[in-house]
């Protein structure tokens, strides 16, 4: 299909009467799509494929890129991570659990809150552009800015929030409060991004559908369930997948707000991978950890795409 299109395109574009030679057209046409794909292919191979394969190779060694000896350990790093009592398994699965807790707590909020905001911002009212900008604004900030900001707002003893509440809630030093802080901060920070995606999706839903619904006597609520949500399904799937992946890759918030405290309770998988790989220069184990995390995330992504597709089919 793509080939025939490409072949005919230059022929059509050729100005009246002047037919280029057949061979020239075919040759250029065959290569054209691949040439367009080439820049991305180079980046993909250079920054995804090669590092990906190389990372797997690294995970099969006791790897420190600075030491001359990088002994081959086969699947030893993986076996260790699955062996209770080994040096890293406890830390790793605690970090995976922390990542899981954060994802489960943050994803529903990051699906629902931005949708509500997008629905509001999709209505016509004075100052709409201003509010759209306001809700998106935090997303522009770097995680370092947000982290330091919230560290002072939420400090248990000298923070603003507890000053007004009049009680020293341990927002950054004890669970479950630390999870509330991390999730709340993340929702505030990234809500704008999901809201903008929803907003684009909402504007794609044909107005005629709403008109038809209203003619049929549908209430606002009916419109939402039967027109808005189905219309948003592809967008919803995208937002869900991207949000799960972003939450599972959480690093900066814990690193800056709680430092993993209490103990290592809020240390996420990526934070542990970074500490192990770059702090301790144990790239072999760190790579193995990343691969386990990647496999889990792939499984979750496949699962939620399947689930949403099945609902679409029914």
């Amino acid at each position: 299909m793509a080939v025939t299109d490409a072949r005919s395109a230059p022929a059509r574009a050729a100005p009246g009467g002047r037919e280029p030679s057949r061979g020239g057209v075919r040759r250029g046409g065959l290569l054209t799509p691949y040439l367009f794909l080439l820049p991305y292919l180079v980046l993909f191979v250079g920054f995804v494929l090669i590092p990906g394969v190389f990372g797997f190779w690294v995970s099969l060694h006791d790897y420190n890129y600075l030491l001359p000896g990088k002994p081959w350990v086969g699947f030893g790093n993986y076996v260790d991570l699955f062996t209770p009592g080994s040096r890293d398994s406890g830390d790793f699965w605690r970090a995976m659990a922390a990542t899981g807790i954060f994802t489960v707590l943050s994803v529903p909020l990051l699906l629902v809150c931005p949708l509500a905001v997008a629905l509001l911002l999709n209505r016509t009212f004075p100052g709409r552009s201003f509010f759209r900008a306001v809700f998106f604004a935090p997303y522009v900030l770097g995680v370092a800015v947000v982290g330091v900001l919230f560290r002072f707002i939420l400090d248990p003893n000298i923070g603003l929030v507890n000053y007004y509440l009049g009680h020293p809630f341990p927002w950054t030093t004890a669970v479950p409060w630390a999870w509330v802080s991390l999730v709340g901060m993340t929702v505030w920070w990234t809500l704008g991004f999901n809201a903008i995606i929803y907003l684009a999706g909402l504007q794609d839903i044909p107005v005629e559908l709403y008109e038809a619904a209203r003619v049929d006597g549908a209430s606002r609520w009916d419109e939402f369930w039967n027109v808005t949500l189905p219309g948003l399904r592809p967008v919803l799937m995208f937002v869900l997948t991207v949000t799960i992946l972003a939450s599972a890759n959480m690093f900066g918030q814990s690193y800056l707000l709680t430092h993993g405290a209490p103990g290592t309770t809020t240390r996420t998988a990526i934070m542990l991978v970074a500490q192990t790989g770059f702090g301790s220069n144990r790239q072999g184990v760190a790579a193995a950890m990343s691969y386990i995390l990647a496999v889990v995330l792939m499984a979750v992504s496949v699962l939620n795409i399947r689930l949403l597709q099945r609902r679409e089919g029914s």
Partner: protein, 447 residues
């Protein structure tokens, strides 16, 4: 080095592709290579930096002086550059965390700096990983001897019998206290508590006035350092003498951590102290005694509302024990053999350490004894108590991978001070894990 300076000229698309392609393949090559044997020492440095007579060179100096010490370092570099037109030093400052991921990678790819500064306890790891090279010739040319320094600082620069660090300074823990609040509470602001009884008596008086006087921070900065100081004061140590086993779970360790946790339990400190909150509370009059690093001396001097004093660390246990560390100059491994640059780097190190009195203005104790005794340093009154404590400072042993091991300790202090775990149990489990890591490291670094 032009490779490191940001390019202001516009990049053409062709050039951009060429560059990014180059970077990609360089990275791939760096990742696959790296097994070639590195040179065993720095390129020949002529006379070890006693003077420099070569042609005009530019050398690059990396460090992690992100605080006010960065400004002092820049001031010294500027001074050096105008004094020696033939050597121009370009300084790059990174946060220490970034520094230790950037430096090895830069050295590995041949783009490392000519000179760097790092902490005493980081040097063995970097030496074992071949990131830095021995500089015995510099010490010899400068005629530096153990007697010129506090012995622990001097010996800390050695790894496997070779010298890797030229000491610049010592920065240790001390007692910062809020004089204004002490006076308001009826305590003598010129007599900060120096032993356990006085400390507890002062805290009781403050508690009577509704002030929690000794906030205990649960994080490495500076709760971890506080624990290490107390551990030594109670007669314990971090490791056994052969560094085969973590021993911070000894009775001394349990006593030390229990004392810290009791400050929280008995209400002398609030629970759940956040990162830096203890220090900020000292500055806004809510906290009175803070076990804090010398590097904050210039910061508290700017306060208008409260007057903050500094004193030696109180002696809670029977022995003297103070946490401290030392910045030292190191020479990163170079792939190219540029004798002029090597010599210029050595001359810069020599000049900087001789002028460490200027460096002391950024709130550090000079490593050289003659500078500590100089009139110029004596006039920096706020630093004197820290200089007096240097004799009690312990340093971590000179073995690679120390950071991984101490992280375990700091995590257990965190758990105990946040009241999540009993001190003895927290220390015991972390010491067991640390011992395992010590043994792993022995194998990994071949020591």
């Amino acid at each position: 080095m032009p490779e490191n300076s940001p390019r202001s000229d516009a990049l053409s698309r062709r050039r951009f592709l060429a560059l990014s392609g180059g970077v990609g393949s360089a990275m791939a090559l760096a990742a696959c290579g790296g097994t070639s044997t590195p040179p065993a020492s720095a390129p020949a440095g002529g006379n070890g930096g006693a003077n420099y007579n070569g042609p005009k060179v530019e050398i690059v100096f990396w460090n992690g002086f992100t605080g006010s010490d960065g400004q002092t370092a820049q001031k010294m570099v500027d001074q050096f550059n105008s004094a020696t037109p033939n050597i121009q030093v370009k300084m790059n400052i990174y946060r220490w965390e970034d520094f230790f991921s950037k430096l090895p990678a830069a050295v590995q790819s041949g783009n490392g700096p000519d000179v760097a500064a790092m902490h005493l306890d980081d040097m063995p790891t970097q030496a074992a990983q071949n990131v830095i090279v021995p500089l015995d010739d510099v010490a010899k040319a400068l005629d530096l001897k153990e007697s010129d320094f506090s012995p622990a600082v001097w010996k800390g620069g050695l790894y496997k019998g070779k010298r890797y660090g030229i000491p610049i300074d010592v920065h240790d823990l001390g007692l910062f206290y809020n004089k204004t609040v002490m006076q308001q509470a009826g305590l003598d602001p010129n007599k900060p508590p120096q032993n356990k009884d006085d400390y507890m008596a002062a805290l009781d008086i403050l508690k009577g006035k509704g002030i929690q006087g000794s906030w205990v921070p649960p994080f490495q900065f500076t709760g971890g350092f506080m624990f290490e100081s107390l551990l030594w004061q109670f007669g314990g140590d971090i490791f056994d003498s052969g560094v085969t086993k973590a021993t911070w779970d000894s009775d001394a360790g349990v006593q030390a951590l229990t004392w810290m946790v009791d400050l929280v339990k008995k209400g002398y400190s609030p629970a759940n102290v956040g990162q830096d909150a203890d220090y900020l509370a000292l500055k806004n009059g809510k906290n009175v005694f803070n076990w804090q690093g010398i590097w904050q001396v210039n910061d508290v001097a700017t306060l208008k509302t409260f007057e903050i004093g500094t004193a030696p660390l109180p002696k809670i246990g029977p022995n003297g024990g103070v946490w401290g560390n030392s910045h030292q100059f190191v020479l990163p491994r170079k792939t190219s053999n540029d004798a002029n640059k090597a010599n210029a780097s050595r001359y810069f190190i020599s000049w900087f350490t001789k002028n460490a009195n200027i460096w002391a203005q950024s709130a550090k104790v000079p490593a050289r004894k003659d500078l500590v005794d100089s009139q110029e340093f004596k006039s920096m009154t706020a630093l004197q108590s820290f200089a007096a404590d240097v004799q009690y400072v312990h340093y971590p042993p000179s073995i690679p991978g120390m950071g991984d091991v101490l992280t375990e300790l700091y995590n257990s202090v965190n758990n105990a001070v946040l009241l999540k775990q009993d001190p003895a149990a927290a220390l015991q489990s972390s010491a067991q894990r640390a011992t395992k890591i010590l043994q792993d490291n022995k194998k990994k670094y071949g020591i």
